[in-house]
Subunit: 380 residues, 4 copies
Amino acid sequence: MKLKFGMVGGAGGGISPMHMRGATIDFMAELTAGCFSRNPEKGRKQAEEWGVRDVSRVYADYRTMAEEEGKKTGEDRLDFVVIVTPNDTHYAIAKAFLEQDFPLVCDKPLALTVEESEELARIARERDLPFAVTYTYSGYAMIRQAREMIEHGDIGDITYINAEYPQEWLANALVQTDSANAMWRLDPKRAGNSQATADIGTHIEYLVKAATGLSPERVLAKFDHIPETLEMESNTTILCQYPNNVTGLLWASQVAIGHECDLRLRVFGTKGAIEWQHQDANRLKVTKLGGPVQYYSADSPYNYSESVRLSRTNPGHPEGLFEAFGNIYRSFMEILKARKEGREPESFTYPTVEDGVNGVKFVQACVKSNAGGSIWVDVE
Amino acid sequence: MKLKFGMVGGAGGGISPMHMRGATIDFMAELTAGCFSRNPEKGRKQAEEWGVRDVSRVYADYRTMAEEEGKKTGEDRLDFVVIVTPNDTHYAIAKAFLEQDFPLVCDKPLALTVEESEELARIARERDLPFAVTYTYSGYAMIRQAREMIEHGDIGDITYINAEYPQEWLANALVQTDSANAMWRLDPKRAGNSQATADIGTHIEYLVKAATGLSPERVLAKFDHIPETLEMESNTTILCQYPNNVTGLLWASQVAIGHECDLRLRVFGTKGAIEWQHQDANRLKVTKLGGPVQYYSADSPYNYSESVRLSRTNPGHPEGLFEAFGNIYRSFMEILKARKEGREPESFTYPTVEDGVNGVKFVQACVKSNAGGSIWVDVE
Amino acid sequence: MKLKFGMVGGAGGGISPMHMRGATIDFMAELTAGCFSRNPEKGRKQAEEWGVRDVSRVYADYRTMAEEEGKKTGEDRLDFVVIVTPNDTHYAIAKAFLEQDFPLVCDKPLALTVEESEELARIARERDLPFAVTYTYSGYAMIRQAREMIEHGDIGDITYINAEYPQEWLANALVQTDSANAMWRLDPKRAGNSQATADIGTHIEYLVKAATGLSPERVLAKFDHIPETLEMESNTTILCQYPNNVTGLLWASQVAIGHECDLRLRVFGTKGAIEWQHQDANRLKVTKLGGPVQYYSADSPYNYSESVRLSRTNPGHPEGLFEAFGNIYRSFMEILKARKEGREPESFTYPTVEDGVNGVKFVQACVKSNAGGSIWVDVE
Amino acid sequence: MKLKFGMVGGAGGGISPMHMRGATIDFMAELTAGCFSRNPEKGRKQAEEWGVRDVSRVYADYRTMAEEEGKKTGEDRLDFVVIVTPNDTHYAIAKAFLEQDFPLVCDKPLALTVEESEELARIARERDLPFAVTYTYSGYAMIRQAREMIEHGDIGDITYINAEYPQEWLANALVQTDSANAMWRLDPKRAGNSQATADIGTHIEYLVKAATGLSPERVLAKFDHIPETLEMESNTTILCQYPNNVTGLLWASQVAIGHECDLRLRVFGTKGAIEWQHQDANRLKVTKLGGPVQYYSADSPYNYSESVRLSRTNPGHPEGLFEAFGNIYRSFMEILKARKEGREPESFTYPTVEDGVNGVKFVQACVKSNAGGSIWVDVE
């Protein structure tokens, strides 16, 4: 029996089809209700496109949806709700659905302030509601392989972390007429008090967490406004202090010409090192101390089973961004299914609401560090 | 309104989930009927997993399905049927559904003999039924970009073609206990009189066609049985003569250790050259005479629109095999939708039943050439 | 007529054969005198191996050599002297030869203190003596291509710089018995008060200068002792402020497993970006705003002539480290030749004694920044 | 004591500086005599540039040089002679010097006919004269590593060989005014009856031999004249039958736009595979059955000592074409030195006159196969 889910947001957005594909790629769930637009006509069209059968479950405002869906029980009840609205609305919407006891999937960032994000986490914790925040890139099978290798001690103790996420789109957008997308993100009212750090720096921060289990204790950030006329930073360089005095270096840019979505992670240890690049997402570079460079390929039998089960094809057949989304959804839904069936879930992991809170804290610490002239600032 | 489709085969198979994902990734179609297994219990389970709502449309044999579904009309009628059964059954099943006037999607190879494949093509032609054969790799957006560039003369006249598809899985399978998959393919009764050539050589042959529009007029083949104990070839080297005396070189192997699914295509012209590699599927290497090597990235504005519309994300976000399947399905379904809506379809392309026939002819010509000691043999 | 040169140091060293190859690869100079070792027997053997004809010009101490060679004139006089002794001896030796009016080539670092290095620069300036400091990697033809492109405005105004030099050798050396080389570098008495920053961080600093013309005004450094037992840093992360508020990020490591000599430079501008990697030294990644990634290949006609003349073979034939050394030597010697022949030299560039001074200042500023807890420190 | 060598040819040529660098890069030999040009003035200038001290040993014709140098003995006698003249003169010159008992280094091809090349081999054999033919690419350290791995059984029994050498220069040259180099090679009178096969196909043929020890027993070739107006082939595709029924596939092209000197070798075995690419000359891709892809790096301790001793720097510092030349020269000269010193030489290998004979035979068999319509032709 497929799980049932609802969605808030989606009509006309670029991110909602990714969520739809992520939620359905493994045939585990079907879209059953939604508030896709405040415009009823647009909402109905979206519902039809995505195959929502019962039009009475298509709403024009999220509060009504939360209330009405909250009343349903048994077979009719939604198993979870997905929030894909603009960043500044996540908090209110998430809160409304948590209060109706729905497990949630929410796009990142979880909220614009630490207080709001902590409140959401508190409610979810109190009501014991699974809550995934879609740090997409953490869904790749080889990131899970990295995590398993590190946990098994395959590269020894971590000594240094270097991660980056250079993009070029903003440099292009600023010289193009069609820069609506750029403009939305450049508006502090919609996006918060940080741009590159909040938008993609936080992806790096969580990718490090997903691969290593580590979160920074202190940060030292330098923001660059490129071009100078931007209100918020488009380029950010961050030194991190991780537990055990491990230094990390994070760099994110939206004006790095020559790079598209070139997320790259390197973790060095006393016995070896791993490297993952988004451009080559289905492989992991692994080097053992004194040995040659190796490339582990997804789904290969020498990988840990936790990684292998996140692959859907044979080694060498590429899986991409939608499949990474799918892995977050699958892991989240496996928990829900196990609960419904009254059994222990297998060890699936996904980015949780706590990770979402950490992300917001991380960004705010970076903002504070930069404002102070690149000084060390504690996270929290 | 979504298109409705049925499926023959699928339960327990490795290829059917790919077809399911390909058919549904763009929210254009829903699975409505099927004969997933001769075992009714297995069939029902598969139907449930994939969300077939009406259990009366789940069948245990394909003949009944063809008959019963053939009677349906209007909203109830399936828009197309997908065939994902073992190779030696394609012919009979396809014929049964064509005779009920269903457009088809069939896995490759279309059939085991030239005669059978030609008969299918004839029926489809006479009844004007769209018929796609899933040469998967041709679905990548950058293959379409290659085709457009070549058609627009961007690399001048084609001078030489070099394409290869090395895999290593059989070398691994032969030393593993779990080699059921290998064994199926190694059995001439199920797989026909060729293995590497029919299984993956034909993928290369069509990839060349998809990118260049060219089919070989003559072939010269050398088959290798590695290890010697194999009944059929696991490695095949083929010289092709294309129109205008263009030489092509194709190599396919299932025992090429160090290669997973490393399909690679190089087309050289008088003014430039293009290269595509499956490992880097979202980019196309493009070199203009006298200029530096360039890498075109999928979805970028400098690509032809026919390629751009086959991308679903932003440049730099990888799309993989399922999305390539999705592009074949989408292009096929766009034709069906346009017909239903009584309008001209846009210029979408997909591998057709004629391409399927050519594939079978190509394999048989290679078999004959090899048997003759690597002599030139006309295709057809 | 070949130039004549002398050498101080060399017997048994790993770096001296590189200098020998660099000096002679273009048939422009011959080794004529030297003080290769304090051990006369070793010195003679080295002289014989390298083909010094006149044994009376082989010395056992550099002071005698400076004095005796300083007396020679005309055809007999050395055109320049090369210093390849341990770091802590550069100052005294260089001073001795400068005072005899010899142009010099000295290994980096120029000296261990700012004062000493500035004194050398002053003497060279006062006596108008060409003085090269061998920041080897700056010699690659594609670094010169980068410089020309930037000077010609091909990538617009520089916006951000990211450069790194990760190595793994120290991680390996620390677990091996044969770690004499490591140990020498780990001794503050021989190496000064910095290890990774002075040894390889300074290579990055100058590579940026060679490619962009920019030197940092302020630095903020974080040193890591990996493993903790090391007296000096083996890993260093440095934020730089370049002129016009351009931020730069430099990372150097000697314990980055999986990296050999993976120097990498990325310079971003308002109109484009360039990237150079040591692993692929004969190519330059060039991206123009809105265009595809391109790879410029050394010696190709689309490169600037200043780059092309630093290549010795056809495009595609790799040149390596010795040839990079050779380019520094050639550019230095072209100046000497032009002076001898009383003509204006062509526009050859090489790292000068001033660059050597800057390198020492840079390292000392980093040491100070790190000691202060990663604070901004002015360079100078 | 350095070895002494003479050279025939060189003035104005592009290949002679490579030989000079190869011969002298390890400080083992010095140029002592030569016939650099038939023009005495040019010859003298070349002699001066290269530092020949005794002008009486600079000749304007090779016969005089052979005679005069042949009379010298003891310390004065040349240890070997290098021939770098156009292809059609190799035979006569080599013969003249062999008859004076000089060991030789000769550029490839050894001669234009099988008969001539066999005669040279016979004389060298009878007189026991070491004779190297500079198949340059075989000199890379990682080709030697490949050979050692194969000989030690690291990849099991060889099953298939795929090698290629695509270049683009001719495509460029044909549209450029400065095509003297192209034209020389396109003239059958100077170049023999084959162009791409003789010029670069033979490099592939020997590279396979150097790495595997195997030479083809039969060939089947297809020549392409691209453009059609060329008198000789610019593109060649060759099937080879190696001992033990191993199939090999060789492709060479001078009109493959997008490729510079992209020599690539793949050898597959029952237990693993190796791959070497000229663009990445200091690494070897090694895959063991069932394991991940690995990249062995030159000079690393896990390589065989025969490979390590052909590296001059640390792992990660690239060595290029001149160093590959140097390795052939060094291996050749080590034999000469050992003979002079009356000791057994270490196991150095270099391409010999017998390999040169094989190269000529290979080309002639390909010419015959192509003329017959791509039929199998025995080599010899």
